[in-house]
Amino acid sequence: MVDLNYLSIDAAHDMLVSGKVTAEDLVKFHLDKIKKLNPKVRSVITIDEKSAIDKAKAVDTKISEGKQIGLLEGIPYTAKEMFMAKGTKTTAASKILEDFIAPYSATAIRKLDEAGAILIAKVNQDEFAHGGSTENSAYHPTHNPWDLDRVPGGSSGGSAAAVAADMGIFSLGTDTGGSIRQPAAFCGVTGFKPSYGAVSRYGVISMASSFDCIGPISRSAKDTEIVFDAISGLDPRDSTSVDYKLDKPKEQLKAIYYEVGNEVDSLINNQNFNHLEVASTKPIKELGVTEESLAAYYILVPSEISSNLERYDGVRYGARTQNSSNLNETYTKTRGEFFGPEVKRRNLLGAYTLSAGYYDAYYKKAMQLRTMIKNRVNEVLDEYDVILVPTTIEPAFKIGSKADPVEMYKTDVLTVFANLAGVPSISIPFGFDESSGLPLGLQIIGKQGDDKKILEIAKTIQDATDYHKKVGEIKL
C-alpha cells in the first residue's frame, strides 16, 4: 500500500503517471480524510463528492489511454466559500447566502478546472472574510489541527486548516489584509498573497476591491508556484488584473529582516540561504508602517465593504426577511437578520467614513496615508530585494480569547501593509513558539510584480530548512 499522506503536487502527479495510485483513489483518500477529520476540525462547509469522483474517473481514463496529463490533473483541492464554482453552494460563510448556488465559475476556478485539478470541497472562513480567526463564520468556527482549542486564523482559516489536516493537497484563499498568510502561519503551512492584480478577482466575492488578492495555501513554496502559475495572468473580465512580466531572480539577493520579538528573530539571524543573504536586521519600528497600515486599513477596507455588500439586499437572490411590511423594512430587516455582528460593524463604519462631511477627514486622509505607506515600502525594496518579517507576533490563539474586535484587528499588524502597497508576500512556516510548540510564520515580501522572485526565495529557504515538513497531529 502506497502512502498517500501529505503528498506534494509533484509526488501525487508522479504516482498518478506511474500508476501507483488512480486519481479516483487519490480523491477518495482525501474525501475520507474529510469524513474522518472534519468533525473535529470543522473546516469543510460543502463536499462535492460525486462530481469530484466523476472528474477523477475521467482523468484515470485519460491515463489508461496513455495520454499525457498536466501537473495539476487529478489533484484534489478545496476552495474558500468566497469562490464562485458553478453549481456549488457559495455562501461566503454568511446566512444571507445560505442557499446560494453559484451559476458561474470564478476565473481562478475555471483555470484550475481547465488544468484538471479537482475541487472536492468548499471550506469555511470568516463571514465575507471579515475576521482573523474564522470564528466569524455564520455556521461554526474552524479548529486548528495543531491544537483543536485554538483558531486556525482567518479569514481563510478553513483553507489553512484543510491543508494542514491533509484534506486536499492545496486550497484557494483570499487575502485582503493577511487572510491567507496569517492562517497559513497559524496552521504551519505555506500561504501566498500575490501582487495585487496578478490573479483575477473575477467570480470571487468582493470584500475590499482595491485590496483583495487571490492565492494558494499549500504545504510548500514549490506547490504554491505550480498553482500560482495556473491561476495568474491578465483577465479581460477583471479590469484591475495586470499582466506582470514575472521575472526569475538574479543570482545574489539581499534581504532586510525586521524583528518583532518572537522565536523567528533568533532563528533568522546571520542566516545564509544559498543565494539569499540577510544583510540587515532592524526592529520592526524602523519599517515605520505597521501601526499606520492598520489605521489606514480599517478605514479604507470598511468603506469599500459598505459599498460591495450593498448588493445583498434581499431583492434578487439570497435570503430575504419574512417580516417586512414595506421596502425600507425589507432592506433593514433582511440585512439585520442575516448579516453577522462583524459584517454589520464594518458596514456601519464604512458608511460613516464615506458619508458627506466625514469623507475628507477619514477616507481621503486614509488614501493619502496609503500612498505614503506604499512609497515607504518601495523605498525599502529599492535598497533590498526582499523584506523578511514574521507573519504574526504570536502563534494561534485560543478560540474565544479575542472578544474585543480591536484586539482581533491587531492580529493583522504585520500583514496589512503588503495589501496597502499591493506587493506580493508569502508566509512560510519558520520555527515554533517556545511555550506552546505551535508553528510560526515568516513573510517574504517583494516589489510589485516580483512574485516569481519571492517564490524562488521561499523555495530556497525551504530547501535549507524543514519547518514546512512538520505536521500537527490531530487528537481524535
Binding site: F83, M84, Y202, S206, A208, P236, D238, T240, E304
Partner: protein, 473 residues
C-alpha cells in the same frame, strides 16, 4: 418686463446607442425582450462579478466631446454613487464624479438671428438602472433589469441660459448634435433623451434660490414648465414669500409644476472612486481615429444654412435629419453658388419630405439632386418636368438618364424650332397680318401653338424670342 432675471442650467440624460451595455456584453437593445432575459452576472450584480468598460461607449463620449467643442480628458475615472433601491442591482451606480470624460465645452444656439454660446460644464458616463413597475391593485412591485447597465451620458450645462426660449433652443441643439453624430437615437417618448431644468430668478447679480424641475422629455414642455416656474417664483417674491430649494415635477395636464422633494430630504450618496475600475488614459490615436470619422458638425451646417438665409425651421429640419443634411452637403459641394444651393434646400424641405415615406427605396443622392437643380437652371428642363421626375430621382435614377430615356429634353435647338414656327406662320395668315399691323396680343396665340406642336417640350423663353423674330420677318 419683469425686474427679475431668470438663470437656467440644464442636465440632460442621453442613452447611448451602443451595441452592448456599459459594463458587460449584454445587448443594449432590450425592445421586445421579456423581463429579465437580457441580463448577465454583471448587470444583475451577482456576487463576484466585475464591471468592464465598454470601449464603444468611450468612443461615443469622445464624439460628443468633439460636438461640444470640449476638452477630452487625458485621464478619466469612475466613481460609485451608493443608494438602496430595488432597481439598482449593485446598490450603487457607477458614474463619473472627479474626472468626467468630457470637460469644459460649449454649444452655439441661434437666438434672434445671433449665435450665442452656452457653456457645457461637463458630461459624464454612467449606467442606467432597471425598471420598476407597480401592478395595479397588487401589494408588490416588479423589477426588470433588462435596462440595467445601459450606457448614459449626463450633460451638465453652465447656468448661461437666460430664458425659456433659449432653454428650448439649447435642448434642440444638443438633441441635434447627439442624434446627428449617431450617439443617441433621441427618442424622447421612450426616455432616451430627457432632462432636468434648474431655474432661479434674481433682480441682483447674486443668484436666487434654485428650483429643479425633474424628468421632462419634450422641448415644448421644457419651455412651458420654465415659463410657469419663472412666473410662480416672481409671484412668490412679489408677495414677499421665500423660495425654497426643492425638486419639482411638471404636470402636463394641469400645466403646472408641483413640489416633489425638499433639500432636507436629499440623499447622501457616499461617492468614492470605483475600486473595480482603475483610472485610464485616453489613447490619443484612439481619439484621433474618432475625430476622423466626424466629417461635419451640426453647428457648421447650421451656420452655412443660416448664411444662405434659410429660416430656423428649415435649418432645424435639415440638421435633425443627418441623412438629408449629408445629401445637402454633397449637393452644395457641386452646386457651389448660394442661389442654386438654396434651390436644393427647397427640394429637400419641400417635395422630398412630402414623398419620402412613400418611396420604394430612398436613394436620393447629393449628386443627382445637384444635377436636377442644374438642369432646371440651364433651361434644359422645365420646373414642371423636374417635379414630374423627382420621385424617380429620389429612388436613385439620374435626372439626365430619365429625361433622355423619356425624351423629356426641352427643344432649344434654333433651326428645329424655327422650322415649326415658320410652318405655323404660313398656316395662319390672319394672326400674322394682325401682328404685323401692331396687335401684340396675338403673340400668345403663336407661342401656344408652338407648345401644342412640341407637346410642351419647347423652351418657353426661346420660343418667345424666335416667334417675335420670325413674325417681324
Amino acid at each position: 418686463m419683469s425686474k427679475y432675471k431668470p438663470t437656467i442650467g440644464i442636465e440632460i440624460h442621453t442613452q447611448l446607442a451602443t451595441k452592448s451595455k456599459m459594463f458587460c456584453g449584454c445587448d443594449n437593445d432590450s425592445r421586445g425582450a421579456k423581463p429579465n432575459t437580457n441580463i448577465c452576472q454583471v448587470c444583475y450584480a451577482l456576487p463576484g462579478s466585475l464591471p468592464v468598460v465598454n470601449r464603444g461607449a468611450i468612443a461615443m463620449a469622445i464624439k460628443m466631446a468633439i460636438g461640444f467643442n470640449s476638452k477630452i480628458a487625458d485621464v478619466t475615472s469612475f466613481d460609485r454613487k451608493n443608494y438602496f433601491y430595488p432597481d439598482s442591482p449593485k446598490g450603487y451606480q457607477i458614474t463619473q464624479m472627479d474626472q468626467p470624460i468630457i470637460q469644459d465645452g460649449f454649444v452655439e444656439i441661434l437666438v434672434d438671428g445671433e449665435f450665442k454660446k452656452i457653456g457645457i460644464h461637463h458630461a459624464h458616463l454612467e449606467e442606467d438602472a432597471g425598471k420598476l413597475t407597480h401592478p395595479e391593485g397588487s401589494e408588490y412591485s416588479l423589477v426588470d433589469f433588462n435596462r440595467a447597465g445601459t450606457p448614459l451620458v449626463e450633460i451638465v450645462s453652465e447656468p448661461d441660459i437666460k430664458s425659456p426660449e433659449e432653454a428650448k433652443r439649447f435642448l434642440q441643439e444638443i438633441h441635434n448634435i447627439v442624434t446627428s453624430l449617431g450617439i443617441c437615437n433621441g427618442d424622447m417618448e421612450h426616455g432616451n433623451f430627457k432632462f432636468d431644468l434648474n431655474v432661479s430668478i434674481s433682480d441682483t447679480d447674486e443668484l436666487g434660490t434654485r428650483v429643479e424641475l425633474k424628468n421632462l422629455n419634450s422641448f415644448r414642455n421644457a419651455e412651458r414648465a420654465l415659463k410657469y416656474e419663472i412666473k410662480r417664483q416672481e409671484d412668490m417674491l412679489a408677495e414677499g414669500k421665500v423660495i425654497s430649494q426643492e425638486t419639482r415635477g411638471w404636470n402636463d395636464a394641469k400645466s403646472k409644476t408641483f413640489a416633489q422633494r425638499s433639500k432636507e430630504e436629499a440623499n447622501d450618496y457616499r461617492y468614492f472612486p470605483e475600486p473595480d475600475l482603475p483610472p485610464f488614459n485616453l489613447d490619443r490615436d484612439f481619439v484621433s481615429d474618432i475625430q476622423k470619422e466626424i466629417t461635419v458638425l451640426p453647428i457648421e451646417i447650421r451656420k452655412d444654412l443660416n448664411n444662405l438665409g434659410l429660416s430656423v425651421d428649415d435649418q432645424d429640419l435639415l440638421i435633425s435629419q443627418p441623412n438629408t443634411a449629408s445629401i445637402f452637403a454633397d449637393a452644395r459641394k457641386i452646386l457651389k453658388k448660394d442661389n442654386l444651393s438654396k434651390k436644393a434646400v427647397n427640394w429637400l424641405v419641400g417635395d422630398y419630405q412630402a414623398i419620402k415615406s412613400g418611396l420604394k427605396k430612398d436613394k436620393l443622392s447629393g449628386g443627382n439632386l445637384a444635377e436636377l437643380v442644374g438642369l432646371v437652371d440651364s433651361g434644359e428642363i422645365s420646373s414642371k418636368i423636374a417635379k414630374d421626375i423627382f420621385r424617380d430621382v429620389c429612388e436613385g435614377d439620374s435626372p439626365a438618364d430619365i429625361i433622355v430615356s423619356k425624351g423629356l429634353v426641352l427643344l432649344s435647338d434654333d433651326s428645329q424650332l424655327e422650322e415649326i414656327i415658320l410652318k405655323i406662320i404660313n398656316d395662319n395668315p390672319k394672326p400674322t397680318s394682325d401682328y404685323r399691323a401692331g396687335s401684340e396680343k396675338v403673340l400668345g396665340f403663336f407661342v401656344g401653338q408652338v407648345m401644342k406642336e412640341t407637346k410642351g417640350q419647347a423652351n418657353p423663353s426661346k420660343v418667345n424670342e424666335l416667334v417675335v423674330k420670325l413674325l417681324k420677318g
